[in-house]
């Protein structure tokens, strides 16, 4: 039971850590499947995190915050599209610039609006995403009723109920959105006209062009979806996981999401597993610091690096070659 409890808790942590990665990873998937490489996921998330928290703080409504976050991320997406689709610029450079821009702008604006050192005021009540409680799940209400902490109640119930209460129930709505996006993305990509065209434009834009479909339009659409998802990811960080924006709070998650995307070879279900794997590795590393192996204490640095080491090992051992969408990174040029 104790082991099971620990396992469930680690998995619960995995889900929370994986959610922003998953959203960003799916965002990148749309963009890169359409042939637009995006290393600016990090910047878009950060911008969205700030604007969602800022608007939620000012209006007191987390939903307005979410919209603001998405809008902010969309603006950066439009910039990326402008540079890499309309003006056929270098997609990597544009992504790098967007990351810098977000990193600087968030703090600059935060400072001039709130004067709290690049931070937004803390969110409370309606300004934050509450976690959803499923029927029959153990949650804070039960704790209040019985006057005992949730963790105690959890440790007393049976395994199924425990897993149900911890893993399925008790997450913010954005978590469910993120995981529902996986089948949805799969369905859009492989079952709809839009998906067919999207994948085609990432493989061979000339084929799409000569088939009478606008390459530019499709790519902008993909980049816009990417913006929306990054927006949700950022809002999740600042308004669901946390209660406000702190500078650089994305802490490299956009890059990890990018790694997960390559890991998943640009496929939605694999993306989910990759993000869960990254989440799990991090959760494990956080949970089991300073492990004592018969007198030898593993230094915290080893545990800290472990997710990254394991990623490399798994990548080298099991994943093999990842072939990106063929037209990825190349601007579509008819006439030179």
């Amino acid at each position: 039971m104790d082991f099971f409890l620990t396992l469930v808790q680690v998995l619960d942590s995995t889900i929370r850590l994986a959610t922003p990665l998953l959203l960003a990873c799916l965002a990148g998937l749309y963009s890169e499947r359409a042939g637009i490489f995006d290393i600016g996921l990090e910047g878009k998330m950060l911008m969205a995190a700030f604007f969602s928290a800022a608007v939620a703080a000012v209006t007191g409504s987390v939903w307005l915050g979410l919209l603001a976050g998405i809008a902010a991320s969309l603006v950066l997406s439009a910039l990326h599209g402008f540079a890499s689709i309309t003006f056929r610029g270098n997609q990597l450079i544009s992504g790098v610039a967007i990351n810098f821009l977000a990193s600087g702008m968030t703090v600059l604006i935060a400072q001039s609006w709130f004067k709290q050192g690049g931070r937004t005021p803390s969110l409370f009540g309606e300004g934050r995403f509450e976690s959803a409680e499923f029927p029959y799940a153990i949650g804070p209400e039960d704790a209040e009723l019985t006057g005992r902490p949730v963790s105690e109640l959890m440790s007393e119930t049976n395994a199924l109920h425990l897993a149900y209460s911890e893993l399925l129930s008790g997450h913010s709505i954005l978590v469910y959105v993120a995981f529902l996006m996986v089948p949805l993305t799969w369905w859009i990509l492989f079952r709809t006209r839009f998906g067919l065209r999207l994948r085609a434009v990432g493989e061979n834009p000339a084929a799409v062009d000569t088939a009478g479909v606008s390459v530019v339009g499709l790519r902008y659409a993909a980049v816009a979806i990417c913006g929306v998802l990054c927006g949700i990811a950022g809002a999740y960080l600042a308004t669901a996981l946390q209660a406000g924006f702190v500078k650089e709070m994305t802490a490299g998650r956009g890059f990890i999401a990018l790694a997960a995307l390559i890991f998943a070879k640009w496929r939605p279900w694999h993306a989910m597993w990759a993000c869960l794997l990254f989440g799990l590795l991090q959760a494990v590393a956080l949970r089991f610091q300073n492990i004592d192996l018969g007198g030898v204490v593993i230094p915290v640095q080893v545990m800290d690096a472990l997710p990254y080491i394991l990623t490399v090992v798994i990548l080298a051992g099991f994943v093999g070659k990842a072939i990106p969408p063929r037209a990825g990174g190349e601007p579509y040029v008819k006439e030179r």
Partner: protein, 364 residues
């Protein structure tokens, strides 16, 4: 026949792009309620108006030249080395070990040894991702990102638990002995009556960086290895046809790239801090990506882009010293410069090409 003269492509477009970036930056400065003219003035005089300012500008530029060249060399083999940061950290470790463990008689020998050590350490850190890419197809972008994190953890462990002098509260190595201190610009260029570059950290490493530019240029465009690297970068199938081993080129290009990134340590660790501190690289590995992209992977372009970023760093520092403009403004300006000169250059090029075509038609 070209669409427009080469000088326009090489000189005019970057200048117009920079101008656009400057104008937008000015608007941002206005928006936060400061005076843009004053700000630009401060930045330019602070970074370029004195030998002192140059001393800082060139110090930063030296870092960026090394990491920019590192990224550029890998780019020529169509490898995206995001791992410059980690490789530079390891280079620092190499320099620290060399400087602390041997009683060097003179800085010249120490510098040679430090160069070798930093290059070996940097290359070693690039070797595993390189090997995995070449042999297992593990995507170099992921592995180098991961290796940055691993390097940070490793360095943290070394500085906190191994190399920190007993009782020191600072997670850093001991100071390097006097004998290995590199000559700074101050000591090189000052005369008795005229002190130049006073206190600035620019040091002899800058000339090593310039040398590295020439070496990389010669390597890429003048040697057979460089020819193979470029050929492989343009076409893998072509390389196989020509008997160029993709595995070999991938590994060699990454080793060179890692060595160059590692070499940065002679500047920041040996030349400036004179000891190894946590976070000594300060993101120079990532700036190197922007520098290489903006410099179009050409050593001369890298050099210019590095100077530009050095200017932004030093100008930004001066701005922060004398005004209340938040330091993040500099990050925004950097973003705008990267955006306009790097990603939106076609926005300038397309109308300019039309203009030149029209001029040519008009004169013909």
């Amino acid at each position: 026949m070209e669409k427009m003269p080469k000088w326009a492509d090489v000189v005019l477009i970057p200048i117009i792009s920079l101008l656009l970036a400057t104008i937008l930056s000015a608007i941002v400065i206005l928006a936060i309620g400061e005076d843009p003219i004053e700000a630009v003035n401060l930045m330019v005089t602070g970074a370029l108006g004195s030998t002192y300012g140059w001393g800082y500008t060139l110090y930063y530029a030296t870092n960026f030249i090394f990491t920019g060249l590192a990224v550029a060399v890998a780019f020529h083999a169509r490898l995206f080395n995001i791992g410059g940061e980690g490789q530079a950290m390891l280079g620092g470790l190499g320099v620290a070990i060399v400087c602390l463990s041997v009683p060097w008689p003179h800085w010249t020998i120490a510098l040679l040894a430090a160069c070798a050590a930093s290059m070996i350490f940097g290359a070693a850190w690039a070797a595993i991702p390189a090997y995995l890419q070449a042999k297992r197809g593990s995507h170099i972008v992921i592995t180098t990102i991961m290796f940055n994190f691993i390097a940070a953890a490793f360095l943290n462990y070394m500085l906190v638990n191994v190399m920190r002098p007993q009782g020191s509260q600072d997670p850093a190595t001991a100071r390097f002995p006097e004998a290995v201190h590199l000559p700074t610009f101050q000591s090189m260029f000052s005369t008795a009556e005229n002190v130049m570059f006073r206190g600035a950290p620019a040091n002899i490493s800058f000339f090593v960086a310039i040398l590295a530019c020439f070496v990389v240029w010669a390597l890429i465009w003048r040697t057979r290895l460089g020819y193979e690297i470029r050929a492989y970068g343009h076409s893998e199938t072509g390389a196989v046809y020509a008997g160029i081993s993709p595995v070999r080129i991938t590994v060699i290009a990454m080793l060179i790239s890692g060595a160059l990134a590692g070499l940065m340590a002679i500047n920041n660790v040996m030349g400036e801090a004179e000891r190894l501190v946590l976070n000594a690289t300060e993101g120079a590995g990532f700036i190197g990506i922007a520098v290489a992209l903006m410099g179009r992977s050409h050593p001369f372009g890298v050099f210019l882009a590095a100077i530009l970023f050095g200017f932004l760093y030093q100008g930004g520092a001066e701005l922060a010293l004398w005004t209340s403009i938040p330091r993040e403004l500099i990050v925004v300006i950097q973003a705008l410069v990267i955006l306009f000169t790097g990603a939106l250059d076609n926005m300038v090029r397309i109308p300019l090409e039309k203009l030149f075509m029209a001029l040519r038609k008009g004169s013909a």
